[in-house]
């Protein structure tokens, strides 16, 4: 049975941020992309930097990020978001620049741009959505797909002997001096969302201080690609993804 709301005497404690447009998300039900979008925009709203923020959208399911995020944005070629962000930041050093990329985009075709952008210590925030699959193109294997994971291009499960082990690119780039703050977060619980938000906020503050590259991996889901219900993806994330991609800070500013 359905309960009627009664809000008299109550105060508003949470609402959709103004920095999100009214366009409904095109993502599949339960997709983590839109949570990441929302949290990113909540921070932009809270820091009051909407007019100073430039985002770079990838080629991936989040290719339409600019339909939802109400900030100036550029759509980058597949894998090149961090190069595009470099171009923007170098000519607009006083703006807040972030790239938003999937695992195929950032860790496969974009590997060189990713490594060198971080190695140069570009003063940008890189948001890396790791759902272990190529969502947009229909669930192919990603560099981050887990061993044994069945995808449309690893129908018998990922075979490490043939295609290698999952690429932990976040641990790799954390080694580079140009990386200032590197962390791995997720969006599968409210607690995780709170932590992600803190990480994003910190990153923009570091960017203001020209500290170098901030890199946030978000372990996310892909109900469609994983062929699961959104609820089932929560378990998969916790039991399968986290052992390979443990949450937490990987590199923190040394005081």
């Amino acid at each position: 049975m359905h309960i009627e709301n009664n809000i008299d005497g109550l105060e508003l404690v949470y609402k959709r941020p103004e920095t999100l447009t009214d366009t409904p998300f095109h993502y599949c039900p339960g997709c983590g992309h839109s949570v990441a979008h929302r949290v990113l925009m909540e921070v932009v709203e809270e820091l009051g930097i909407q007019d100073k923020t430039i985002g770079i959208a990838p080629v991936g399911c989040s290719v339409f990020a600019y339909h939802y995020m109400d900030v100036d944005m550029q759509e980058a070629a597949h894998g090149r978001a961090s190069a595009v962000a470099t171009g923007v930041k170098r000519v607009r050093p006083d703006k807040y620049v972030f790239s938003y990329q999937g695992d195929g985009d950032l860790a496969a075709i974009g590997t060189a741009e990713t490594i060198h952008t971080v190695n140069r210590g570009e003063n940008i925030l890189m948001v890396f959505i790791n759902n272990g699959i190529y969502g947009m193109t229909g669930g192919q294997m990603a560099p981050t797909s887990l061993v044994g994971m069945k995808t449309s291009t690893s129908p018998y499960g990922r075979d490490a002997a043939n295609v290698g082990y999952p690429l932990k690119i976040t641990e790799l780039i954390a080694q580079l001096p140009g990386a200032y703050y590197v962390t791995r977060q997720s969006v599968h619980t409210s607690g995780a969302v709170r932590k992600l938000k803190k990480a994003i906020k910190a990153s923009f503050e570091y960017q203001k201080l020209n500290k170098g590259t901030c890199f946030i991996e978000v372990v996310s889901n892909c109900p469609s690609g994983w062929k699961m219900t959104p609820k089932e993806t929560i378990d998969y994330i916790e039991q399968q993804m986290f052992p390979m991609y443990p949450l937490g800070d990987i590199k923190v500013p040394k005081q």
Partner: protein
Amino acid sequence: MIRGTVLINDNTCKGCELCIVACPQESLGLSKNINLAGYKYAELVQDNCTGCINCALVCPEAAITVYRQPKEKKAEKVTVIG
């Protein structure tokens, strides 16, 4: 117990049920009817919401607005309003 409630936009809700899982009070459930997008949508099924905003935080569609009864110590604001 703190009193709270949620408004759920049943046009944009896609019935992913993540809010239902996230709710410590089991206040939420799925509707019988479908919305224009063809999805069953989330709705309050118990009047015991505490306004903890967990559901809103995990909602992929940003479809949930949360209200809570004021306290002495200011309610944690996840979003600055206005």
